[in-house]
């Protein structure tokens, strides 16, 4: 093909795009919206579940931390191949933090008053170390939260020599160089060198910590080996960024699956919208395409032109979407998100959408290519019998405008089907989104229904367990305390251990949320989360053999519970099932609070009494990012629905332009003509939206349960959206659609209709 025939194609595409700027813009915006939503969602997901990445980049963290007896020469380490910079060496000494009767190990690490270039802690509250304030320390935030320290508060530390020193918290900081407390122990506090010197004067009882920043993080293990060799026998232990990252990572499987589901559905909706828009456009252009073919355009050229035109719009949308996604993460979410999406998911989103766009455009383009080249051929829709729907409308004596509209709705089967589907899919996804929302609300308001009857866990700390139990039950808001112990159990045939939780007793069982089977009623019976059933390939009713602390234990699994922890890989037994050496004294008490009590308030009261109290993390808190995604997707899906609707209404107008003249001649008023047109589109809207809402309502709780099962937590978490919410959503969708259909219909009804074909 010569250059010039492309010029002919280009000229036509340009002219066509100019003639329908608004429609083209809407197509671009729809695709851009989907891509933006996907990128934003993926960024939030990546960032929310992997806080290490942001901390590490913002703090210019070190990939490897080497703990040595004596301070190594930083120049030697910096000279290592692959090491770009060195942090420290800093002196670090163990100490004990004392609050009342409670003692917690803490690592004190020296730092300068000026923040270093590499491995910089990020001050979140208060201020950084100050040379004028030698008593002031900065505490790592997760540790401070766990032990209840606030900026301005003071505490005491006891050094290894037994001397007590009073220190003041001047700031809280986060760091990507160490995991969160309590997953990563001991807790960390940064002090000035002089302060550390006071607490631990003996150099021999402290160690030296040096951070290495690497050119390529993948070389970590190699460089660790080289460093160990280089420092010959000096190295006591090494921590790498991988361990830190792993300790900070949240379980993101449920989120990931939900996001993937929404993303896929969004893409399907986008594909339908694009296919419908392109198909509608091609249909309205049949005469032009036939003319082009009579001029000598080949079928292949027509397909190529249509693909180029509509594909370009889609690709422009993708580019715009990527840019918008980036801008949103940089500006709108600048506070929460530090790093833009990594390139793998970004490329997957961009290329996935591009593929969807091309496939969605290809089919109508192919059909357009098959247009016969006779421009005079009738392009009016097949007319004739009243549709079944219209006959039904006549039977129930509806006004004539409605009957005619009902007939019009189905004159073109394929576009009618595409429109209905194009509206049903977004509506279904919106309903599923509402279902997710309702499920999250249920998590929040009824944690006992998702396996979190106890919102606090008390560990005796320095007290005896009876004393702890007594103290806890003395609190007015505590309704019950269940003794419990968590042990690792070995399972035959498994290379790893599973968590066995002994909680409550046979006579006084903990209120598990049993969703299948029943609760244990005897020793030797157990309940398990979905994750464990999947891991061991067992079913309810099966017996399984475990080894706990060397003692074999055979239990029969009699029920499945909702298990929000450990990916559901938890086996729960009554405490009296365990051998006394494993069971007594109980490690902790799970506290069930009075309905409506504030767990944080109870926690601080109990903490004041030297108890170690931790608060359960509601699964909904971990999933809160889903709400943002739901809102964003509802907006995008609504946009797609709108695109579909405009196509349908444009097609309807074009198909019936001639009929309108006849209808007016028959004596229909403009108002009736308008009603006819709106009914034609509106009927498809009502069917599509209704079908989507019904399908979504049926599917949503099942789908969420499926996700729950996949994440190990187990089916039984899904909730359908409340009927009132759903009704409101349906009414809003139908109402908005009718309004959108009304505008062109009004215009058409008032316009004078030409009687000639063109």
């Amino acid at each position: 093909m010569s250059h010039s025939t492309t010029a002919a194609e280009y000229r036509w595409v340009r002219a066509d795009l100019r003639a329908r700027r608004a429609q083209a813009l809407l197509a671009i915006l729809a695709v851009a919206g989907i891509v933006t939503a996907l990128i934003t969602a993926a960024t939030l997901l990546e960032d929310g579940t992997n806080p290490w990445r942001g901390l590490f980049v913002r703090g210019n963290g070190a990939h490897v931390w080497i703990h040595t007896k004596d301070a190594p020469n930083p120049a030697t380490l910096k000279g290592l191949d692959g090491v770009t910079d060195v942090a420290g060496p800093y002196r670090s000494a163990p100490a004990t933090l004392v609050q009342g009767r409670k003692k917690t190990p803490v690592a004190l690490q020296e730092m300068a008053a000026a923040l270093p270039a590499v491995g910089r802690p990020l001050v979140r509250e208060g201020r950084w170390l100050d040379a004028d304030d030698p008593e002031g320390v900065v505490v790592e935030r997760s540790f401070a939260d766990a032990v209840g320290l606030r900026p301005g508060g003071s505490f005491s530390v006891i050094g290894l020599n037994g001397a007590t020193h009073d220190l003041t918290v001047i700031g809280l900081a986060e760091s990507g160089d160490q995991g969160f407390y309590p997953e990563w122990t001991p807790g960390l506090a940064w002090t000035l060198a002089a302060t550390l010197e006071q607490v631990e004067p003996a150099i021999g009882r402290s160690e030296s910590v040096t951070g290495l920043r690497l050119a390529d993080p993948d070389d970590t293990s190699l460089i660790v080996q080289r460093t160990i060799t280089k420092l010959a026998g000096q190295v006591q232990r090494v921590s790498t960024w991988r361990e830190v990252q792993a300790s900070m990572e949240l379980d993101n499987r449920l989120l990931g699956v939900l996001l993937a589901l929404f993303g896929a559905a969004g893409l399907v909706a986008a594909a339908l919208a694009i296919a419908n828009a392109t198909g509608g456009r091609v249909l309205t252009q049949q005469r032009d395409i036939a003319t082009l073919k009579s001029l000598g355009f080949t079928r292949r050229q027509v397909v190529r032109m249509l693909l180029a035109e509509h594909g370009t719009l889609g690709l422009a949308g993708i580019v715009l979407g990527v840019i918008c996604g980036r801008l949103i993460t940089v500006y709108a979410l600048g506070e929460t998100v530090v790093i833009p999406l990594s390139s793998a998911p970004l490329l997957a989103i961009a290329f996935g959408t591009a593929l969807v766009v091309l496939v969605a455009v290809w089919l109508p383009a192919w059909r357009g290519g098959r247009t016969p080249p006779i421009p005079a051929a009738s392009v009016a829709p097949p007319r004739g019998h009243l549709s079944r729907m219209a006959r039904l409308a006549l039977l129930v004596r509806l006004p004539p405008a409605l009957v005619l509209g009902a007939r019009d709705a189905f004159t073109r089967r394929l576009p009618a089907l595409l429109t209905t589907f194009g509206l049903a899919v977004p509506m279904m996804m919106i309903t599923i989104g509402l279902g997710c929302w309702a499920s999250l609300d249920a998590f929040k308001s009824h944690p006992e229904q998702v396996g979190q009857a106890a919102s606090l866990t008390v560990r005796p700390g320095s007290l005896t367990s009876q004393a702890a139990n007594r103290l806890a039950l003395a609190d007015p808001d505590v309704v019950a305390a269940y003794p419990g112990t968590e042990v690792d159990a070995l399972v035959p045939g498994q290379t790893r251990t599973v968590r066995a939780r002994a909680l409550g007793t046979v006579t006084d069982p903990y209120p598990f949320s049993v969703v299948e089977g029943r609760l244990f009623q005897d020793r030797g019976e157990a309940v398990a989360g979905q994750g464990l059933l999947d891991l061991l390939h067992v079913q309810i009713g099966d017996r399984t053999r475990l080894t706990i602390g060397g003692t074999p234990l055979i239990v029969r699994i009699v029920g499945r519970v909702l298990e929000p922890e450990q990916d559901g890989e938890v086996l729960s037994v009554p405490l009296d099932s365990l051998a006394p050496k494993d069971a007594l004294p109980p490690q902790f008490y799970s506290l069930v609070l009075r309905q409506g009590a504030d767990p944080a308030a109870v926690r601080s009261r109990l903490q004041a009494q030297a108890l170690e109290v931790s608060q359960a993390v509601n699964p909904a808190d971990r999933l809160s990012v889903i709400r943002v995604i739901i809102v964003a997707l509802v907006v995008v899906l609504a946009l797609l629905g709108l695109a579909n609707l405009l196509t349908a209404s444009a097609l309807g107008l074009r198909d019936h332009a001639l009929d309108l003249a006849v209808l007016k001649a028959m004596g229909l008023t403009p108002r009736q003509v308008m009603a006819t047109l709106v009914t034609g589109t509106g009927l498809l809207v009502v069917i599509g939206v209704g079908a989507g809402a019904v399908a979504g309502a049926f599917v949503s709780s099942g789908l969420i349960d499926l996700q729950g099962a996949a994440s190990g937590m187990g089916a039984g978490i899904g909730r359908a959206p409340a009927p009132a919410t759903l009704l409101l959503a349906v009414l809003a969708a139908v109402g908005a659609s009718l309004l959108v259909a009304l505008i062109p219909a009004r215009k058409a009804a008032r316009a004078r209709i030409p009687v000639t074909p063109r």
Binding site: S4, T5, R11, S294, G296, T298
Partner: protein
Amino acid sequence: MTIASAPSAIHTVNLVKIYQTGGLPVHAVRGIDLRVEPGEFVAVMGPSGSGKSTLVHMLGGLDTRTSGEIWVDGKRADTLTESAWAILRRQKIGFVFQFFNLVDNMTVADNVELPALLGGASARHARERRQYLLGELGLTDKADASPAQLSGGEQQRVALARALANQPQVLLADEPTGNLDSRNTRDVLRVLGEVHRQGQTIVMVTHDARVAGLADRVVTLLDGQIVDDAAIAAVRRRPKGGAGGVVELRG
């Protein structure tokens, strides 16, 4: 008609078209042998449904034949694929339709340049050709207008310019004046006459005897067959002035 030294512009042998509509075969064209010599102006007449349009569509490859042969410029064309027909149309055949069929989205200038660009001409050459044609047809000042802003006659003249853009061997016109008033009809016929005088081969479908009077030769179809094929005296070849009284048709 004897076999000329130069190949016929168009030649058909026993051309048949049968439509299948709802299982019932409809014989639109039943065995037409037609030879159009270069430079000839042939009018195809006949009542509605006599197969005129089907014949012209088949001659230009817009519709496929059921059986028989079509030769264009001495080459067999009925066996061509759809794409090969399209390329043949680009180079050798111009079409004019009853409803003009200008591309609404494009300006008059773009509409006329499109076939030249499609034929492989450079943008400059296409522009020059368009300027020449629109000038000849008195439409220079309408170049940037959209087709919807033009009168029917003007639109049909633009369509003519578009059909002539690639200097086709044959101009096929399907009721070019069927949708025009008498004044516009006169304008279009005047242009057709001029083009013909410059040597353009034209096959024109019409059911207007006055329009047919412009042609060298009138072929009359009835029920898909040629029932009359007669040359018109050269002196009668005038667009107006009682042509309708001259042409007497049998049947």
